[in-house]
Symmetry: C2
Subunit: 236 residues, 2 copies
DNA sequence: CACAGAGAATAGTAATACTATCAAAAAAAA
DNA sequence: TTTTTTTTGATAGTATTACTATTCTCTGTG
């Protein structure tokens, strides 16, 4: 069984829905390839225009500027992540297993789907790690936040926070722990490759290492003393 | 007693030592003011030149580009942070108190020193929160990392990791926990102001909230079950 | 007072971000 | 069907930015 999943990305991010035309789709697909290849700073609409055999003006018709295009890509990612998370979690009952699944999802690439027209998941994953914070670390966060462009990120964070609270209702910082998990998943993976002294990676790959570290951090934070005592009682 | 502290910032970051001339000092001081005011993306050498009543060429004589200037400012900050940390820690013997002091330092502004010529600490603190990750989230990290431009950051991370291991030698991720503390101090403060839904801030200010969250995270990670058991034994 | 040499100003260029105009094609109205 | 309107992409610009090459101007020695 094959099925198509598409997300309604907030229409305030784009001027024209890139999903609505062939050029639009090419813009997003090639943007992912180029941002991966050049890094967001060296990525320009001119270079993208050449890649899609069109002109800058065409791209400007879809996106106000390259920041909005990056925001679009990340919104797509956050939506997809929340979808995957909800999908994979539905048949799990054990909350601890749910949290483990979340950490795994946050630290591993999406599976390359068989869909004929699809974004490169490996590239997308790397863009999320390296460029995602650039969507909000800007002077006009407050302004663009009013347009709800960060809603998918907040929703994802909220979902994870919900499971955290489900696991330990007494824990005081579910949202902060949730956003810390997401952000730490990114920068620990980045550090483990480019600035390994800031981490404790050994031989294993970045995804596996980050997974282990985050699981340790998460369950130490949540398995309060009382809970562990109870476990101990149960063992006797 | 007054004393001047100055750091030998890695000379590969600048073309000419900005500390060596009056214009050089004005460049750094005004850069901090402007980056705070405009954000790094909208900060340009042209605007900085106008602020110091000089020309772009003068600034290019000191720094290759604006990224290097940001790197210089952050190196100064990381050096100062490590100095402050070592200074404040020397008369503490209790490791737990040391860690508390570290979290406090990471989440609060530097005290505004009385020094006649000094950088604006409030601005500097905000730049660290918003712009610091932009120093390494670039395509040429590997290249610039070879020139040891991240050494002060790694040193700071290493020092904190040392104390973490001192507190709990069995803990497996001292470096990752250390870099996570530093990074989380930044983004939780940022989120608590601009995207509060990603956190659990209430009325208290961003510094105080982040302090509480980080202390909780840190000691839960380090106070392994065995340690807590021992504490309990001691209480009896 | 000549002059070497460092430091800063002048005057550029190439690339980037973005806009205004134009023309062709598609859709809607007459 | 014909005319009009709208949509779409292409062309050609401008202002700003990042950076360089060259010229000028001090300052200190002999």
């Amino acid at each position: 069984m094959e099925f198509q999943v598409s997300f309604r990305v907030n229409d305030k991010i784009y001027l024209r829905d890139p999903e609505s035309s062939e050029v639009g789709k090419q813009i997003v697909k090639n943007a992912i390839d180029l941002i991966y290849e050049l890094g967001f700073e060296h990525f320009t609409f001119k270079k993208l225009a050449i890649a899609i055999h069109s002109t800058e003006a065409t791209i400007y018709r879809y996106f106000e500027n390259k920041h909005r295009l990056l925001l679009y890509i990340l919104n797509w990612y956050w939506c997809y992540m929340e979808f995957l998370l909800m999908f994979k979690l539905q048949n799990k009952t054990d909350t601890r297993e749910k949290l483990k699944m979340i950490v795994h999802l946050l630290t591993h690439e999406f599976p390359e789907s068989s869909g004929q027209f699809d974004y490169n998941k490996k590239y997308l994953n790397q863009i999320v790690i390296v460029e995602s914070s650039k969507t909000y670390l800007v002077k006009d966060v407050t302004e663009i936040n009013k347009k709800e462009v960060f809603k998918p990120y907040k929703d994802l964070c909220g979902q994870i926070a919900r499971i955290i609270s489900e696991y330990n209702p007494a824990y005081s910082y579910p949202n902060s722990l949730s956003s810390t998990l997401i952000e730490t998943a990114h920068h620990q993976q980045f550090f483990s490759v480019y600035l390994p002294k800031l981490t404790d990676v050994t031989a294993v790959n970045r995804a596996e290492f980050t997974n282990l570290f985050l699981e340790n951090l998460l369950f130490n934070a949540l398995d309060a003393f009382e809970l562990r005592m109870k476990e101990l009682e149960g063992m006797k």
